[in-house]
Structure formats: C-alpha cells, structure tokens
C-alpha cells in the first residue's frame, strides 16, 4: 500500500469510527449500547495487539502483555483512589506506571533473548499478579479496588475514551514505523551482531520499544479501569490479555500497524459471536489460529495481501526479503511492513 494513501485511509477510517456513537439513534444495531461496548472491548485488545507487535518487531516475544496491562489498571486505580488524581490523569498514571516498571525491569531482562526473555515476561506477569493479590488494603487484596468511573455509563464517552487509547497505540506504532527506530528494530531482528557492528545501540532501541509498548499497554489498562470500574488481580492480570492480542497480531500480520488492527477487529468480532454460543472453551479457537498461522501463513492476512499485491505489480522492486529471525523467513519472501526494507547496513547510526 502506498504510504500516503495508507495514512489517508487510516485517518478516514478513524474518523468514521469516531462518528459511530452519533448514529446510536439512527442505527442501534451498529451503534447501540451493546455494539458500543463490544467496540470498546475490541479497542482495548487492538491497542494491546499493536503494542505487542511494536516490541515483536525487534524479534523479542513478550508473553507478559497481561502483566503490564494489569499494572496500568492498578496504577490508574491507586493513583485515583490513594492519591486522589483526576480520572484523566489517572489513565496517564497507569501508562506511566507500566512504562516505569518496564524501564526498571528492562534494565535487566532486555539482556535476555528468545525463550529466556519470553519466559521471564510470563513470570513477571505472574509476580505482579501475586503482589497485587497479597498487597493488603493498599491494593484491595483478592477483591481488588473499586473506582467510580469518569463517565458513569455514558456509552458514547467511554467509546471515545477507548478510541483515544487506540489512537495512542496507532500513533506510537506509526512513529516506530516511520522513524529510524524501524530500521534499528528490523536490523536487530534480522541479525543482532551485524546490527551492533553497524553501530546500532541495541540496548537503547530495545529499551525504547519495551518502554513505549508497555506505556501503551498501561494506558489500555487505565482505560479498561474506566470502562469497568474495578481492578481485581485475577481479572487485571488475566492470561487472556496476553493470549488474545498475540493471536490477533499474528493472524492480521506482524511487523506492521495495519496487521494487528485487522486481526483485532476480525478476531474480536468472531470471538464475540463464539462467546455467545460457547461460553466456556471458545478460546480453543485462538490456540488453533496461532498454530495454523505459524504453520501456513506466517505473515498473516496482511502479508498475504501484500504478496498478492506485489505479484500483481510484477515484482518490480526486486525482493530482498527478510534475512532471518522473521516469522516467514525462508518461506515467504517478504514480511509485512518491511517491504524490501533496508537491513542492517543501511540503518542509520545511533
């Protein structure tokens, strides 16, 4: 997709989404309270999926999305209740808290790679949950904290709030995609040693990716708190907040902004339909989707579309492809979002 066209389409889609609540009287099926609350929950997952992908672009798989999301929920709740911060600010406080935690833990865990990093993030999420579970009055223990909502049950306002969370995620992701951060992360993913010898500050860029993506996850948590009004350890750190965004990003197509968005909307709608029919165990679909995508469609839907578009174009660009470390490496020539992108040697010096 042409860059400028992409931006225009994206902005138009966003404006259309923002106008949706105005239609609530005209078309309750797509803009009634039920539809808006479904959209809200999809928006939260969407922001998480995009933020997961932002770190994933460096080749690091986080299994700890739920951890930083939960930190955002609790950070916002504690800022609002114990420190009396205004609700708007408390959302930011949630993001800041998650980002701070990421910066502190990142000092150490960003030295780890591959499975070691993944398992550590998974363990961190569990540690956070146990800490908030046992935190006594300050964190409300197993029952958690109740926080009065900013717009108590105003569906339209809550919808816009969730949409602004999406906006933050999309802006952050586009910033990554359009700045030299993208080159740095791609280079690190393709070949860390080569990236390092080209003068890229590996650690610095991993830190930026980790902190910013955790900030987005924390903001999503703060918004979730406003949406549901309570912070309980087993909900806030629920493993679904790791599983669903991961599946969404993979299905839609990783290493891009649009991929996770597509995946989140598709899977969000599909899982709502499934949930109504199968209350327990519908998550099996997510597991199967992850397996199938990895085996047969490692570049996701967006990757398929890109490949089709390129074939139509007549392979003018001359595919260089992703060297290694990519999901589709060795199978599909290109990876979404990094179409023929520069590898380490073209990356700017840090």
């Amino acid at each position: 997709m042409n860059r400028r066209l992409g931006i225009i389409v994206g902005v138009l889609a966003f404006v259309a989404a923002a106008c949706l609540p105005l239609l609530s009287k005209v078309a309750p099926a797509i803009a009634g309270p039920y539809a808006l609350s479904l959209a809200r929950s999809i928006f939260v997952y969407l922001a998480l999926a995009v933020s997961w992908d932002m770190l994933f672009r460096s080749g690091q798989v986080s299994f700890g999305i739920a951890g930083f999301f939960g930190l955002g929920i609790y950070g916002a709740a504690i800022a609002g209740i114990s420190f009396g911060l205004a609700p708007w600010l408390s959302i930011l406080a949630g993001g800041a808290f998650a980002a701070l935690a990421a910066a502190v833990f990142g000092l150490v865990i960003l030295r780890l790679r591959a499975i070691y990093f993944s398992i550590t993030t998974l363990a961190l999420a569990e540690i956070f949950r146990i800490i908030f579970h046992n935190g006594g009055d300050f964190t409300g223990g197993a029952e958690g904290l109740i926080m009065p909502s900013l717009f108590s049950n105003d569906d339209g306002a809550l919808y816009w709030l969730a949409l602004s969370g999406v906006a933050i995620a999309l802006v952050a992701s586009s910033w990554f995609a359009r700045s030299k951060i993208r080159f740095a992360l791609t280079a690190i993913r393709n070949n860390e040693i080569q990236a390092k010898s080209s003068g890229i500050g590996i650690y610095k860029y991993l830190m930026i990716a980790f902190v910013v993506s955790s900030f987005v996850q924390g903001i999503a948590g703060g918004i979730q708190l406003q949406s549901y009004g309570s912070a309980a350890p087993d909900d806030a750190f629920n493993a679904n907040y790791t599983l669903l965004p991961l599946a969404m990003a993979l299905l839609g197509g990783v290493y891009s902004t649009i991929g996770p968005v597509i995946g989140a909307i598709l899977l969000g709608l599909a899982s709502e339909g499934l949930k109504l029919r199968i209350p327990y165990g519908h998550l099996v679909v997510y597991g199967i989707i992850i397996v199938l995508v990895i085996l047969f469609m490692p570049n996701g839907l967006y990757g398929l579309w890109l490949r089709g578009a390129r074939r139509r174009e007549g392979s003018r660009r001359g595919d260089k492809g992703d060297r290694s470390g990519g999901l589709g490496a060795g199978k599909a020539p290109l990876v979404a979002g990094d179409a023929g992108g520069p590898v380490a040697k073209e990356a700017p010096h840090a």
Binding site: G59, V61, F63, V108, I109, R111, L112, A114, I115, Y116, S118, I119, T120, L122, A123, L124, E126, I127, I130, I131, H133, N134, L243, L246, A247, L250, I278, Y280, G281, H282, L283, V284, Y286, G287, I288, I289, I290, V291, I294, L295, P298, S324, G325, G326, L327, A329, G330, K331
Partner: protein, 299 residues
C-alpha cells in the same frame, strides 16, 4: 561451595521441621519427573515445548476416564495412557512440530505456546473448567518416625524421577536409538552424514517424551485435582529446571527440583509467608535465567 551450602540448609531445616524436608523431597520428585522429558526434547530436538504441561494434563484426563468409566486403577492405566500419549505425540510432531523445525526459534516458541492453549482450551470446551479428583485410599498411606508423621505415598514421585533419570541414561548410552538420539542432539547434520535418520529420531524422541509425560499425568492424577489449566505451571516449572541445569544435565534437573520443592514447602510452613509461597517459583525462575545469562556472558 554449593554442596556445603546445601548441607547447611538441610541441617537447619531438619532441626526446624523435618517434615519440610520430606514433603519438599516428594514435591521435588514430581517436578523432576515432569521436567526430564522436556529436557530430553530440548536436548535432542532443540525445541522448548511450551505445551509440555498440557500433554500431562491431557493424559491425566484420559486416566480419569479410564478410572471412572472402565474402573482401571490409575497406576495400571498409566501404561496404556503412556502408549496412547506417545502416539498422540507422534501425530502432533508430524502435523506441527516437524514443519516448524527449520523455522526461526520465534515460530517454534509461538507454535508450542499455541498448541498448549489449544489443548487446555479443548479440554475446557469438552469437560468444563471444573476440577476433578479421584479418591484413592492408598494415597493416604503414612508413616510415623518419632513424633513426626507424614504421608509416604508421594515417594512414588521420587521413585519415578529416579527411574526416569536412570532409564534415560541407559537409553541414551546403551541402545542404538538412544545413541542415535544423542548424536542427533549434538550435531544433526553430522548425524545425517553418518547415516542416521534425523527426522525419524526426532519423531521417536518427541513421542517418547510425550509418552513419558503422559505416564506422569496418570501418576499426577492419583494425588492431585485436575482442571484444564493445571498443566501450565508445570510447563514453566519444567522449563525453569531445565534452564537451571543447562541442556543435557539431568543430574542438575534433580538438584534443582530439590531446591525448588524444599523452598516452596518451607514457605508454606511459615504463616506470614504462606500467601507468598507461589511467588517463590517465579522469582527463582527469573533469578535462574539471569544467573545463566550472566554466566554465559562472562564465559
């Protein structure tokens, strides 16, 4: 240094509460026995199987039905369940793992993560998230030494761990297939050059590991309640132990299990720390990984 530290801690625990050592050792047996098959897969196939614990869970459910519907005792059912699980493991290997062997490590990680979710959620879908337990009378066997009395049945896990460790050692050094597996684990290309069928070896080792963890599922059911997500923590614990020990170090897995088991049991025995005992393992796993990373850096 480690040995003397271990002895000091063991003596201190013995003077404080001897039962902590007994229960810690029993728990260690379970952890080690579940972790050893994962170590085997990692050492030979070079895959971290994040659905490891879920295979155990599936086997436990199979054993539950064998016990409830056919009236087979779990200790008998573990043989057929182990065989069935090995076949299941073979099917999973052929359908999924094999296709991802050449893919980057990222893909393998996410693939087995997805497999684990699919298994646990499929069980959730079929049998709900309710927890089930068998009540067997022989598991309450206990012994009394002096003024301390403790359950003895759980020593079966210690026996299982020792049997697995010893059996694996014999398999890898004495049998043709085992030697082939060892060679493939060290250098798949070299093994292929000297005529070893690498793919067949991978398939065999993966199936064997799933079969072994299936047997552990049957044993697990005799003592514990089962529910769809019961396997997840065992995946993580196994990975923790294998990472702690390093690839190919089965003895290390045994020692690590003892440290983990005793530490957890000791925590639950102190009232103020009881709520925090579940955090021990996660802290240990992170500490282990970091220690390993530092060690590798300086080496």
């Amino acid at each position: 240094m480690w040995a003397s530290l271990g002895i000091v801690v063991a003596v201190a625990l013995f003077l404080w509460k001897p039962t902590v050592l007994v229960y810690g050792l029993q728990r260690a047996g379970l952890y080690a026995a579940v972790a050893i098959p994962m170590a085997l897969v990692l050492g030979v196939v070079h895959i971290v199987n994040l659905s490891h614990g879920e295979f155990m869970m599936v086997a436990a459910y199979a054993t539950y039905f064998a016990a409830k519907l056919l009236g087979i005792d779990p200790l008998v059912a573990m043989v057929p369940v182990g065989v069935v699980m090995a076949v299941f493991g073979f099917v999973i290997y052929r359908l999924t793992i094999r296709k991802a062997l050449k893919a980057p490590e990222l893909n393998q990680l996410i693939l087995t993560f997805g497999l684990g979710i699919a298994l646990s959620q499929a069980v959730n879908l079929a049998f709900s998230s309710q927890s089930w337990k068998l009540s067997l009378d022989y598991v309450t066997a206990s012994a009394t030494i002096g003024k301390y009395s403790f359950g003895t049945y759980d020593f079966i896990f210690v026996a299982a761990a020792i049997a697995l460790a010893a059996g694996l050692k014999l398999f890898l050094t004495r049998t043709r297939m085992g030697k082939a597996a060892l060679a493939v684990g060290q250098n798949p290309r070299g093994a292929a050059i000297v005529g070893i069928d690498v793919d067949r070896t991978y398939a065999f080792v993966f199936s064997l590991a799933v079969g072994l963890v299936g047997i552990m599922g049957s044993l697990f059911l005799t003592k514990q309640a089962i529910f769809p997500t019961v396997g997840g923590p065992y995946t993580m614990k196994s990975f923790c132990l294998v990472a702690m020990a390093g690839v190919g170090n089965i003895t290390g897995v045994l020692w690590g299990s003892i440290a983990l088991g005793v530490a957890e049991v000791a925590m639950t025995n102190v009232r103020e720390l009881r709520d925090w005992s579940s955090i021990v393992f996660f802290v240990i796993i992170i500490a282990t990984i970091l220690a390993r990373a530092i060690k590798e850096r300086s080496a």
